[in-house]
């Protein structure tokens, strides 16, 4: 799974914390879309519908073998190909094989996070196949050799002046910072690519097993172009992105567009279930659906994490998360940013490796409240932190800090014994003395140092409440009762 930077989470987050422009861009998205979505959940979409949608998602996951079998049969009956990929490597190799078999020179892509997950671009480019992102935001990112920072607004971290200079240099147009002018320049450049490409790669928002279609949402029309005009269409789909029936599709589509952009519906919703049929004037001659495991099987098997597969990738958790709001998408340094990324990246790629992601979130619960399918991300973040603290065999997690675990064990022992606790308080009071100034601990040692680097810590009081009780309050009460 590709990463965009060599820097650590801490370094990237620190950089973002000082980036005022980034904050105002994210604030705009969070104020408009995040709050808009929350408003829709209170007004036109009932909690009952969200509960029903979650139930449908979980029922599909519990019967994923049957649902995927039905989807596959229907698509094959229409002349489409379905390939099951165990790993990211299997999936990208399959894409390359299809491209080579069809002598593809240029691939156009509709925005797909799964394609970033499997890292298909680099492989195709290494085989001299041009890969063009066609979503405007993704196209800008690609031109700038940058990385997307938001699921649905990939280039919110760039301003129109930056984009203007980029287009001046890369597209050879006169400098402009007028969004309609810039959009028109990209429309023209991309139209040529879209109409001359041999193969289109898309993701899949929701597949409908009953009817045998994948479905894709877009506002720009680039996804329709990429899946209609080239002679080959390859759709990449995480194995969980399927639902059983049209009735469920109705429900989940309404939640998806509202969660993603507080929209009633996106401009385009495309249903595709195979190649062009006889007599049809257009459409791809070949249709391939790649159904990808790449670690999802393990999430499915674990009752603690099966729920996370019910995610419909709307990105609403990014639009509400206070941590994402401060550090932006780049700090997550992963194909899936934000609260959902903080849960799935460790599960995809190693909990120890992505320890910072699940420890960086605040567990405030905003992501859970806004999630259209009620995903309990805070619960799963806690599960991950528990693994990091105590280790987990199933997920091959080593305890991060044995000293910390030991310290808490010691604390537990001290808290359970009056004598030990009293002793600890007394020694602590003596030991802290050299570090206290103006009545506060300002320079802690060991793990406390990280806290006191930014904030003061209150020292152990001269007298604990228990001690005061004995010397001050209890005698007074006694006096009262004597009167």
């Amino acid at each position: 799974m590709h990463e965009q930077s060599d820097k650590s989470y801490r370094e990237l987050a620190n950089e973002a914390l000082g980036d005022e422009r980034l904050h105002s861009a994210i604030r705009m998205i969070q104020d408009r879309i995040g709050k808009g979505t929350r408003h829709l959940w209170k007004t036109e979409i009932s909690q009952e519908l969200r509960d029903k949608a979650k139930k449908a998602r979980m029922r599909t996951l519990d019967n994923l073998d049957k649902v995927l079998t039905t989807l596959t049969e229907k698509i094959r009956a229409n002349g489409g190909h379905v390939y099951f990929a165990k790993t990211a490597e299997d999936a990208r190799n399959y894409c390359l094989k299809v491209a080579q078999k069809n002598e593809v020179k240029r691939v156009v892509k509709g925005k797909s996070m799964t394609s970033a997950e499997i890292g298909v671009d680099h492989l195709l480019e290494a085989h001299d196949i041009e890969v063009v992102e066609t979503d405007l935001g993704e196209f800008i990112i690609q031109l700038a050799h940058d990385a997307p920072s938001h699921i649905i607004a990939p280039c919110i971290h760039m301003d129109k002046q930056q984009i203007g200079r980029l287009f001046e240099k890369e597209l050879g147009i006169p400098y402009s910072e007028d969004p309609p002018t810039l959009t028109k320049a990209a429309r023209k450049a991309l139209r040529e690519k879209l109409l001359s490409a041999d193969m289109g790669i898309s993701g899949c928002n929701l597949a409908c097993a009953e009817t045998g279609h994948i479905s894709l949402v877009s506002n720009e029309g680039n996804i329709r172009m990429s899946t209609t005009m080239p002679k080959v269409h390859v759709a990449l789909m995480g194995m969980e992105r399927v639902i059983a029936t049209l009735a469920e599709h109705d429900m989940l589509l309404r939640l998806l567009t509202r969660g993603a952009a507080a929209q009633k519906i996106s401009t385009y919703v495309s249903f595709l279930g195979g190649p062009r049929q006889p007599g049809e004037p257009d459409g791809p001659e070949e249709f391939h659906l790649v159904i990808i495991d790449n670690g999802r099987m393990k999430m499915l098997a674990d009752p603690r994490f099966r729920e996370v597969l019910s995610c419909i990738r709307c990105g609403s958790c990014l639009n509400i998360c206070p941590v994402y709001g401060r550090i932006g998408g780049h700090a997550y340094n992963a194909p899936y940013p934000g609260p959902i990324g903080a849960v799935v990246m460790p599960l995809f790629n190693g909990v120890n490796k992505h320890a910072d992601l699940c420890r960086g979130e605040s567990l405030c619960g905003a992501c859970k409240d806004i999630c259209p399918v009620n995903n309990d991300l805070p619960r799963m973040l806690s599960e991950l932190r528990h693994m990091l603290a105590y280790g987990d065999e199933q997920w091959d997690v080593a305890p991060v800090d044995k000293g910390e675990a030991l310290a808490f064990k010691g604390w537990y022992a001290a808290m359970s014994s009056r004598t030990a606790y009293n002793l600890l308080v007394k020694t602590g009071r003596l030991a802290q003395a050299p570090f206290v100034s103006d009545g506060m601990l300002k320079k802690g040692i060991g793990p406390l140092g990280k806290w006191t680097a930014d904030r003061d810590f209150p020292p152990i009081a001269r007298q604990t409440f228990g001690e005061r009780w004995k010397t001050v309050h209890a005698p007074r009460l006694k006096g009262d009762s004597n009167e």
Binding site: D65, N78, K160, L195, A244, I265, T267, V269, P281, D282
Partner: protein, 248 residues
Amino acid sequence: MNNAEQTFFTRLRDALGRNSSTRAVREPLFDSREPGELDALLARTNRTRKERLDLLATLKEFAAILNLRIHTASSTDGAGKTIAEIARTTDTEWGGEKRITMHDNPLLHGLNLEGHCKQDGIAVDISAIDPDKDELTEKLRLRHQAEAAYMGITGADWCAADCGAIAVMAGPGRGRATSLVPSVHVAVLTLDQLVADLPELYAQLENRASLPVSFNFISGPSKTADIEAHMVHGAHGPREMHLIVITE
């Protein structure tokens, strides 16, 4: 089923605990409606003319937000005149002569568009394959036709009034590019094709004997807000969309 696929499903059943469990799962997986729910949704669409006109009012209100332009015509011929007027006053985006590409659909043939456009020198081409000719050669011809057209005209199977979405089924004579590649998309439908919302529209889809391999919901012109969240119409698809509702 090849080996990789068999292994995939074996692992999947393991992950679901199916192989070890003797409990048979007998869930009505592909029947997610409550009893009578679909019939009730279908029955909702039996509307009086007055109720349909109310839906049209709802549609007009919401379409303004989408920048989707709604026109009403009292007859099919009148709709043809409206479209000819739009064609006359719209400039081509990429230069070249003014050509229209149109779905092969009985309602659209009734527009008499060719007649209405003749005086302005605008040609109307039909996006259908000639069954007597080689299909792939025809496909190429129709692709050039779509790329050369500045306006594409389609029918609509249904339109959901509360969100402005039309459903367009693909099929012979119903090219997907017609509503996508030209700069302007004009869709034509009759008042009885209006439904209230997406649940009603999905019920219509469910009620069809079969669905085509490709269909689209379209609600307004192509749009993007990727540059500083500034809304711009005409990203990749049509920059303008008109919906003509025939009320006769």
